[in-house]
């Protein structure tokens, strides 16, 4: 089991200690320079633009420095604040639901039922598809005369007459459910691999000692899954934090601005309204938020552990 994505538990005999050689850097350099050219260079421009007044609809070139005005506009813009809250709600809710459902399904699959392998292969199919396509599928299923309202009406759950995605108070839940459907199998399959890697003897010993299913789960399975769980929760939280495709396919941020997330809001300000200065400021606020979140996750995952 690895310690950090990609780093893994490093066995000494697979590493060469070359403190004074330039070879390791020479090998990393091509990808580093290439990515710097695609990412760091544009981001540098974006930082510069964030202190400029520049709307492409008004002028083809920046109209001059405005200090922190773009940043102040963002913080006092209700749409921006709203999109930040939406993003946090969506990331927290969708990640938590996926984790709980995924863990339950992983426990079910760990029972070694007949057909378990087929079930596992079928189960991962939603995760394989493009999020945009998942968005198309659910947009269709959410229509007032679609399959999901039909099933909900069978169990007497009322749905808004303008459809789940047409109502400002339910649309974000529609987005959440689509992401949960697509990615719960991801949690299930990976947590299952985590459960299977726990030595059978430990679980059997607990059961011989008379531990109930719940006690085994709470005292043995869950602590052993801690590391795997933190890694995939981090991956998914970040991916949902950046969610764009499903929103574009289902609601375009609407109705009104009720399903705008940070990503969608940034896209809208920059590439629909062409306000380059303002959108660059939003981009940099997003980067700062991301750096904080990634560091919190890393602190939680790796505190006390040697990388």
């Amino acid at each position: 089991m690895g310690l950090i994505p990609g780093v893994g538990v490093i066995k000494k005999e697979t590493m060469l200690n070359v403190k004074h050689s330039s070879l390791p850097y020479v090998l990393v350099l091509p990808s580093l320079l290439f990515l710097a050219f695609i990412i760091v260079y544009p981001l540098g421009f974006s930082l510069y633009y964030s202190f400029q007044m520049w709307n492409l609809q008004i002028s083809p070139v920046p109209l001059g420095p405005v200090g922190f005005m773009n940043y102040r506009t963002a913080i006092s813009d209700p749409t921006f604040v709203h999109s930040l809250i939406n993003t946090l709600k969506l990331s927290a809710a969708a990640t938590a639901i996926q984790f709980v459902f995924g863990l339950s399904i992983a426990l079910l699959l760990s029972e070694n039922l007949k057909g378990g392998n087929v079930a596992r292969a079928l189960l991962i199919m939603p995760t394989a598809m493009a999020p945009m396509v998942a968005g198309f599928i659910f947009r269709y299923l959410y229509y007032p005369d679609g399959l999901i309202p039909y099933f909900l009406s069978l169990v007497r759950i009322p749905i808004p007459k303008e459809g789940i995605l047409g109502n400002a108070s339910t649309a974000l839940w529609g987005i959440t459910l689509t992401d949960v459907w697509e990615w719960t199998p991801f949690f299930a399959i990976i947590l299952l691999a985590g459960i299977k890697s726990i030595p059978v003897e430990i679980i059997e010993a607990a059961q011989v000692d008379g531990a109930s299913f719940f006690a085994t789960f709470w005292h043995i399975i869950l602590p052993n899954l801690r590391f795997v769980a933190l890694i995939i929760i981090m991956i998914r939280f970040m991916q949902i934090f950046n969610l764009f495709d499903i929103i574009y396919a289902e609601t375009m941020g609407g109705p009104g601005t009720s399903t705008r997330t940070l990503s969608y809001n940034l896209y809208y300000r920059g590439l629909v309204e062409y306000n380059i200065g303002y959108s660059s400021a939003i981009a940099w606020i997003m980067i700062i938020i991301m750096v904080i979140i990634i560091n919190v996750f890393l602190f939680l995952s790796f505190k006390g552990e040697e990388l």
Binding site: I4, G6, T14, L23, S46, S110, P126, L141, I189, L307
Partner: protein, 275 residues
């Protein structure tokens, strides 16, 4: 796990069937929609029995065949993005796997955060940069920006496969007179070929599934499938049968690749962290 009593086992099987249904019904429903006569689209309760038609596939992929153009663009973009990332990632993966050097942890973390960071953040300045050199709407602008996820991903996954090859094998080859490059080409690459293939398959799937970059960067002739499908929303009266037919073709290749990948899925989706 322990033996369960018969009623418990029946309950567990029932749960398994329910779970499979929840995750498969939307996909099956889309497949049905793609062969449904349009008149049965919106009936309540839903129509389950109808005479299937291939008319929608014919419209999408033969005449006028818009979706077949998008299919070609998808294939070109995903293959080129995967191919371009390989030489870069092989070099860096080898370095991270074999050498302990200062800055190693920081660099690996930098690649990881690229993969987890929000693509939209650098998309806008990237578009401005590409439009300045006249590449917006052309394949290179899309293939190049895909490297922001294909390279970091492939580095981390290929590295996890390199880690499994004992360094002694390489050293043995070098003692026998091979150069380091020779040892890499004759020992490391062949032994980690499965890993390189796994990483490439994932890179292909991620490239195939991406839609945020081509949404902004592609033109009429370079639109991949998910972005092209949006065209069917623009026409009067959303043509759901065409959307379903095109969506089905969009989701099949990644699904087939996931079936082939089998037990490697866990490793790929966690960037080599969990084996």
């Amino acid at each position: 796990m322990a033996r369960r009593s018969l009623p418990t086992r029946i309950l567990l099987y029932a749960l398994l069937v329910i779970v499979i249904c929840i995750f498969m019904i939307p996909i099956v429903w889309t497949a049905l929609l793609s062969v449904r006569p349009t008149i049965t689209n919106r009936t309540l309760p839903p129509t389950l029995i109808f005479k299937p038609t291939l008319r929608h596939f014919y419209y999408c992929f033969a005449n006028p065949g818009l979706s077949s153009h998008w299919l070609i663009a998808s294939l070109v973009i995903a293959s080129a993005a995967t191919g371009l990332s390989l030489p870069f990632s092989l070099l860096a993966a080898y370095s991270f796997s074999r050498f302990k050097f200062s800055g190693r942890k920081f660099l690996m973390f930098w690649y990881l955060s690229l993969f987890l960071g929000p693509p939209i953040v650098f998309l806008i300045p990237y578009v401005l940069m590409m439009s300045r050199i006249g590449l917006v709407g052309k394949y290179p602008s899309i293939v190049i920006v895909y490297q922001t996820f294909t390279i970091p991903f492939s580095i981390l996954v290929i590295k996890s496969f390199f880690d499994e090859i004992p360094v002694a094998l390489e050293e043995a080859a070098m003692v026998d007179g091979a150069s380091r490059i020779g040892a890499i080409l004759r020992v490391v690459i062949p032994l980690s070929l499965p890993g390189i293939i796994v990483a490439s398959m994932f890179a292909f799937v991620f490239s195939w599934n991406n839609s945020i970059f081509p949404l902004v960067l592609s033109s009429r002739s370079t639109k991949p499938l998910p972005v092209g499908t949006l065209n069917f929303f623009a026409t009067t009266g959303i043509t759901w049968n065409y959307i379903a037919a095109t969506s089905l073709v969009t989701m099949l290749p990644p699904m087939l690749i996931f079936l082939v990948l089998g037990r490697y899925i866990v490793r790929g989706l966690t960037f080599g962290a969990i084996k």
